[in-house]
Assembly symmetry: C2
DNA sequence: GTTCTGGATTTATACGGACAAATAAATATG
DNA sequence: CATATTTATTTGTCCGTATAAATCCAGAAC
């Protein structure tokens, strides 16, 4: 029986272009070409390594993907980092995961209205004072607990007011509904978390004392052209909600 | 004078391989090749598009980078997704950015001690009860404000206790010091945020009333082999600290 | 001085070919 | 039957070449 050696291991007689890429990476790390300077040209590298242009370019492609250089026609390969930038990435497929609202929670709509941002609201939403918003107020509840999880204020552009009429309105995120109904998608989002005393207005609905510790999270959603189109403000009494997030180290996010 | 049309715009007569890639992507999206099936071979694509193998491979590389197919020698190009997976990524180069502690803040060490996790502490740290930790207590201050920003408890494995002796101890993140001194690096991290009443023990040091609203953030750092090696617990009085985070939509994280 | 032009340089795109390695299926072997 | 072995197929690696597009810079034009 043949030995079937190292079946799934890594005997991997490395490819030529990988070797060249490793060599280039090593040299960049050691500072042979300082950040901002140009790497040798493809032609020079061909001569130096005795490889074809194809092979050299393949090697340079790897170094590019590692984030060490950028290449531009007519210029050359500019070193932009000496070390592969270590990235911690938190990637999610939908903003639901980011929000960490499980499917067991839903919004019980209390009311909705047109509002105009005064100075305070404008500061909270980070929009210009006088801007018009459609406000949806709701209580977030869970199937599993009797106490409400928190109070939700959802500000959307007036043209999106129609979302409140959807059958699934209280059960799915408003930004998803906006995407389905109007095609507006989130390109950029921002999260802000802070503690404050529970506002008197919400205290009774949530069954806690005014001024008691509360967690408030503001989420701003920007669409194309960086237009702010939705802001949600959620306020949770002490002990009813914890926001958690994981981060994974990765040199380059995998598929 | 030549018109120099569209100087920096995008007249971009697309490259051949980009066109082919776009066509393939479109077809995959429309389901011409279901997920799990094989794309036509390179040879077939060469014939179909009247392009060289190089060009076809370049196109396939793009589709691969989009996350729609995986390619394997001897097998072919397997379709793994009909739509480019939309990811929201929050990537940072160091966990400092994640922590959002600017350089203008520092820790004023109050004391340090060996502790053994009792049931409460074990629950907070998510470790097994009885585990030994080295605890550093400090007040986080800013050069710009008189009031302290918050209270910091840093739990590290006992073998890392030496970090308190560093000259820069109060000015740089402990996990960085551990990396420099002991080579332990963060592979995985976890953040937890919640509101609570300010513990009496910290209230005086922070100049607020016990029970007043406070923001508590727990950060857990895991090294290789998923070993928990550092946990920090920071508690901020109302109005002294806001945690913010941005998320960017990206099909594939750029350099 | 400034602005434009042309040429040299460099990477981008694209063609051709060849052999190696990986895989799956068919075939030979026990 | 089960198990090696071979064979055909497909992608991976590598070479050669050619032209286009982007960039920089020196020199011309003003």
């Amino acid at each position: 029986m043949p030995v079937n050696m190292a079946a799934k291991k890594e005997p991997r007689k490395s490819a030529r272009y990988r070797d060249i890429a490793a060599e280039l990476q090593k040299e960049i790390r050691l500072g042979s070409t300082p950040v901002g300077e140009l790497l040798p040209t493809e032609t020079e590298l061909m001569a130096r390594f005795g490889a074809s242009r194809q092979t050299v370019r393949e090697a340079l492609r790897i170094v590019t993907e590692q984030g060490l250089i950028v290449r531009r026609a007519g210029l050359g390969s500019v070193v932009i980092a000496a070390e592969p930038p270590v990235l911690f990435t938190h990637s999610v497929k939908s903003l639901n995961e980011w929000l960490r609202y499980s499917n067991e929670t839903y919004r019980q709509v209390v009311g909705s209205s047109d509002v105009v941002a005064d100075r305070n609201l404008a500061a909270l939403l980070k929009c210009e004072p006088g801007k018009h918003w459609f406000l949806i107020e709701a209580i977030r509840r869970s199937d599993e607990f009797a106490d409400p999880l928190g109070w939700v204020e959802i500000y959307v552009l007036r043209k999106f007011a129609g979302v409140v009429k959807r059958r699934d309105h209280g059960r799915s995120p408003v930004h998803e509904q906006i995407a389905k109904m109007f095609g507006e998608t989130i390109e950029y989002a921002q999260l802000e978390v802070f503690a404050r005393g529970m506002p008197a207005k919400l205290a009774k609905a949530l069954g806690v004392k005014a001024g008691s510790p509360a967690l408030t999270m503001v989420r701003r959603y920007y669409g194309l052209r960086e237009e702010l189109f939705e802001v949600t403000v959620t306020t949770h009494p002490e002990g009813r909600y914890t926001y958690t997030m994981d981060m994974q180290r990765s040199l380059r996010p995998k598929v």
